[in-house]
């Protein structure tokens, strides 16, 4: 019982048997169906529609266009709202847009009796556009004379920030005699989350006119707020229900089509309307991971001392701001945090609008991109000095006690070096580095590594608040309502364990209400960052402490003993002095409900406003075999070792890491969203977008260094996102070790590798 145990997921049986209900399962019969009409150009203006043919399709109920929606621009990022205008998210899109900013922008919607009618009508709608040349890359968007994607940002730069550490003058530091220098561009590509459940919602108006939206989201309370903003109606007029969801990975940490769905139901008299995207729409029209171009410079002494670095970040935002500059800023921050330069560092970050798919949150939030540049550069620097890359990292990487000079928090617990040493043993680093030293022939092997650090929550950049409610039942069991959402990561299970730990009530008597309903559920900003066990866990712990005090107070009344001498263990009130069971929780609860002397419904509710943060860290080691004539990389062995504090549930923790490594392998070797010169998506389907299959994935190994983090509610810190971070650079560095070829852009796909191997004269 409690924290640290490998209990089964509380939703395991429901999910395995199919009993668990997802949004589409809950949709009642008789809903109308909506289909979004997307632009067929990447940059321009909708001048007019011809709807005649489309309206003739039997079953079509209504067609709503960009000329019919409220003239309100709203934000979509799943960030806490700010009461200060300066810190609010950028409000740059409407429910449907006349000004088309990417190929696939939402310009109209068909409401029909069924999917076939809606699809037929959508195909028959004729659109007249005024077209502008698309700007697809950061370079094009920042060039002189580029068409502004948003008139509010004439130079297409959404935001530019700069910070320095130490001297903050790379060029000056680089003048020292005898330094080894690197000046290179590293690039990461646009990828997608590929959660198994596509975005789906249904909306209707209840008898009092309240709009009820059931949706697959990570952030129900934020969705409610944004629907209110988008429709220009009070937030309390909206109710958002979030049932089980089939993954989100950050795509559903954005308000996607819920405002449109809510608006459409108001256009048909409040009748229920269902809006489900296709996989193709999900890939083309929801959110993607930012493609980032990094220009990195570094200076190192021959003895391996890192003297100074400079980084320029150019983050391709796509058409709308979504999470905006937060990603580029985050990326620059980790570049700074993972290594400390003797003389200092400078970093400039630009987030740039382009006419391409909108980039938003995705597992790791800028850090997988940052780790690619940071760890590819580190590897290249180590090679330049001739020092073993692991030794080089041990010498230069972030040390125990580090505090970020700007964010003012640091490693409240530190296990990075221990992670590196554990991974070194597992992969047989020293032996393999020697064994693979002087290979010849077309097929070669190598080992590579990459480290990372990751902040657990978003404090102090953004508000961290979470709430929890606990309700004692008549039989002494317990309901927990969390504002934080279960999105497949196992939150409900670890919350049960935390409650068991703090309350002395066993998990079999703890029921976490998995559905969030904004009319009922206490407020939490949702599932994102790696915050649930940390921030929401603190809310749970605080609530549990209050509930326990109330329970013991009642026990004290009932037993006529001082509460200070009582505790709860295994569903019994016990005497702390001799651990003797005095009263069962069931007897206590029944009495509390029905006592003619003192009836009380024992409940507790608390909000935790989190003003702490801490770094998690870790490492990936990969061993690969490269078939150079075919450009194929086979991952022979791979391990992630994580410093994530105390594990609440080691089995779930391991599963988190498996998923992250798998995502990292795709990011490193095969996944990339492609577009033609007009910005039209080329591979917006799961055949042509190459996620790795089980046939491409070796056994995934996981280890942990468990050090109690004093700021974590149960000694825990971030684990949700970190596993996806170090894999791609570790693979890149392993290929470099195998072949001597440094690939500086992701992914390391076969055609790119063949081109590199040919250029290097290897094939």
């Amino acid at each position: 019982m409690g924290v640290g145990k490998k209990i089964d997921r509380v939703d395991a049986y429901a999910k395995v048997t199919g009993e668990a209900k997802y949004s589409a399962d809950l949709a009642p019969d008789g809903l109308l169906v909506a289909r979004v009409v997307h632009s067929k150009i990447a940059n321009g203006l909708v001048k007019s529609f011809d709807l005649d043919e489309a309206l003739k399709v039997p079953g079509v109920v209504k067609i709503v266009t960009c000329f019919d929606v409220p003239d309100i621009q709203f934000p979509t990022a799943g960030h806490p709202w700010s009461v200060e205008a300066a810190h609010q998210d950028v409000q740059d899109r409407k429910i449907l847009n006349q000004r088309v900013r990417f190929y696939g922008d939402d310009i109209a919607a068909v409401i029909a009796e069924d999917e076939v009618a809606a699809s037929r009508a959508a195909r028959l709608i004729k659109v007249v556009y005024e077209e502008y040349p698309p700007v697809l890359t950061v370079d094009e968007a920042m060039a002189e004379g580029a068409v502004p994607v948003h008139s509010e940002y004439p130079d297409n730069i959404l935001k530019h920030t700069r910070f320095t550490v130490g001297d903050g003058d790379f060029e000056k530091a680089a003048k020292e005699n005898g330094l080894l220098l690197i000046d290179k561009v590293y690039e990461t590509q646009r990828v997608q989350h590929c959660h198994i459940e596509v975005p789906v919602s249904f909306a209707y108006q209840d008898a009092n006119g309240k709009i009820v939206v059931t949706t697959s989201t990570q952030i129900p309370h934020i969705v409610r707020r944004v629907i209110g903003q988008a429709l220009g109606i009070p937030w309390g007029k909206i109710r958002v229900i979030k049932p089980y969801i089939g993954g989100g990975f950050g795509n559903k940490q954005d308000v996607l089509y819920e405002p449109l769905n809510a608006f459409l139901c108001t256009q048909v008299g409040g009748r229920g309307v269902r809006l489900e995207l296709t996989r193709e729409e999900t890939l083309a029209c929801t959110r993607v991971r930012h493609a980032v171009k990094f220009h990195a410079k570094a200076a190192v002494r021959p003895d391996g001392t890192l003297v100074s670095r400079k980084l320029e970040v150019f983050s391709n935002q796509g058409a709308y701001a979504s999470h905006g500059h937060a990603i580029a800023a985050n990326a620059a921050n980790m570049f700074k945090q993972l290594y400390q330069d003797e003389k200092g560092l400078e970093a400039d970050s630009y987030t740039v609008y382009t006419n391409s798919a909108t980039a938003g949150a995705m597992r790791g939030y800028g850090i997988p991109q940052s780790d690619f540049v940071t760890e590819a550069l580190t590897e290249d620097l180590a090679r330049l000095t001739g020092i073993d890359p692991l030794e080089y990292r041990l010498k230069n990487c972030v040390k125990e006690g580090y505090v970020d000079p700007h964010l003012k928090f640091g490693f409240e617990s530190y296990g990075l070096k221990e992670c590196i040493l554990k991974g070194r043993d597992f992969i047989h680093w020293d032996e393999k580095r020697a064994e693979y030293k002087d290979q010849t022939g077309p097929v070669r092997r190598g080992v590579g590594m990459a480290i990372f650090c990751y902040k657990t929550g978003v404090y102090p950049i953004s508000l961290e608040t979470a709430s929890c409610r606990m309700v004692l039942n008549q039989d002494g069991s317990l309901q927990i309502q969390m504002g934080a959402t279960e999105i497949g990561q196992g939150a409900d299970t670890v919350f049960s364990q935390m409650a068991a730990e703090s309350l002395g009530i066993t998990e079999d008597r703890i029921y976490v209400v998995s559905t969030q309903d904004t009319d009922i559920t206490p407020f939490d900003t949702g599932a994102y960052a790696s915050r649930q066990t940390y921030v929401s866990g603190k809310a749970l712990k605080k609530t549990a402490e209050q509930l326990k005090a109330k329970i013991l107070d009642y026990a004290s009344y009932k037993l006529k003993l001082p509460a200070e001498g009582l505790d709860i263990r295994d569903n019994y009130i016990v005497s702390m002095a001799d651990n003797k069971s005095l009263l069962s929780m069931e007897e206590l609860a029944t009495e509390a409900f029905y006592s003619l002397d003192r009836s009380v419904h024992i409940t507790a509710e608390a909000t935790y406003h989190c003003k702490e943060n801490t770094f998690a860290s870790g490492v990936c080691f990969a061993e690969v075999e490269v078939d150079m004539p075919l450009g194929k990389v086979k991952v022979l062995n791979i391990i992630n070792v994580h410093d994530s504090g105390i594990l609440i549930n080691p089995k779930l923790a391991e599963a988190q890491v498996h998923g992250g490594i798998s995502m990292g392998i795709g990011y490193g070797l095969s996944e990339i969203l492609l577009y033609d010169k007009n910005g039209k998506p080329l591979n917006d389907n799961l055949l042509d977008y190459k996620m790795p299959t089980s046939m491409d994935t070796p056994d995934l190994h996981v280890d942990f260094v468990q050090i109690n983090d004093p700021t974590g509610p149960y000694g825990n810190k971030a684990l949700g996102e970190p596993p996806a971070i170090p894999v791609a650079p570790a693979l890149r560095n392993a290929v470099l070790h195998a072949t001597g070829v440094a690939v500086d852009s992701l992914p390391l796909d076969p055609q790119k590798l063949v081109e590199h191997f040919k250029a290097a004269g290897l094939i």
Partner: protein, 295 residues
């Protein structure tokens, strides 16, 4: 929900031929693993279908008295792979179709559909080229036999008339007896793939197993249709198994193929694969034919 205007389930082959003749716009559906995708994508939305699904006379594999292997077209990929005749006499074909898509696709997709689609990437096609398969088409005027080399007219185009049904795929004994074969599918990942390139080699060695008696070198995605490298095949006849042989096959293929650049793969990359896969497939085919590489 699929946008299908109407569907007719044919009772037998003549019924299917008649239904197609009566519906000039109708599309034949068998397993559905390609047609349903095209309906969903919108390319065939609102189509009329004539279904030959589950017509018993179109399923199964048998061997004639003269050793000709007859594969009926509605046989699923997984049935081909697990068929005893295929396993014993032409395992290369079973291996090739075992690389289609996923287990689910291989359980519904049929070899006839794979061929009649007319696409160059079909996993069965290059091996059927290497085996000199002959296709039997049945239409309103009876049946006709078409060697597979004459079946393809261009990307997605074949000589099959609208009202014709593919009713048999035949491989005569002289095209498999004594041969060893090997198919390599090159995809960017190891499953759920469409071939970036496919190479199928069938080889018969001299009685001493030291030289080439007969070589068939077939490719998919090396040209707009599946193809054979006939000049290379002739050029290496009677050549000893040697590094020169593999070099000649790899380079020879390059002179005969015509791959194109697309966003899926550049021409240069495909040429690299053509040369390399030709060599590798031949090496394995030689081993499968009883030879050794250091002969």
């Amino acid at each position: 929900m699929y946008d299908i205007e109407k569907i007719y389930q044919a009772k037998d082959v003549p019924d299917a031929v008649r239904a197609l003749a009566e519906n000039p716009d109708a599309v034949v559906i068998s397993g559905g693993s390609d047609v349903l995708i095209q309906i969903r994508e919108g390319r065939l939305a609102g189509c009329s279908l004539v279904s030959i699904h589950n017509i018993a006379e179109l399923k199964g594999i048998e061997m004639d008295k003269d050793g000709t292997i007859l594969i009926r077209p509605a046989t699923s990929f997984s049935h081909i792979t697990n068929n005893d005749i295929i396993k014993k006499y032409i395992p290369v074909l079973g291996d090739a179709v075992d690389q289609v898509g996923s287990p689910q696709i291989r359980n519904i997709g049929t070899v006839g559909g794979n061929v009649c689609n007319g696409v160059t990437s079909a996993d069965s096609a290059s091996t059927l080229f290497a085996l000199n398969a002959v296709l039997e088409l049945t239409g309103e005027n009876g049946t006709r036999q078409v060697p597979i080399g004459q079946f393809y007219k261009g990307p997605g185009k074949t000589v099959r008339e609208h009202s014709e049904i593919l009713t048999a795929i035949r491989i005569t004994k002289d095209n498999y007896d004594g041969f060893g074969g090997h198919y390599i599918k090159y995809g960017k990942r190891n499953a759920m793939e469409i071939a970036t390139l496919g190479c199928s080699v069938s080889v018969k060695l001299t009685p001493d197993k030291k030289a080439i008696e007969d070589l068939r070198l077939a490719y998919g995605v090396a040209a707009p249709t599946p193809m054979r490298c006939t000049e290379t095949e002739s050029a290496v006849k009677e050549m000893k198994i040697s590094p020169e042989l593999f070099e000649k096959v790899g380079k020879g293929a390059l002179a005969e193929v015509n791959p194109r650049s697309s966003w899926r793969a550049s021409k240069e990359f495909r040429l690299q694969l053509i040369e390399e896969l030709g060599k590798r497939a031949l090496k394995q085919a030689i081993i499968n034919a009883g030879g050794t590489l250091d002969a």
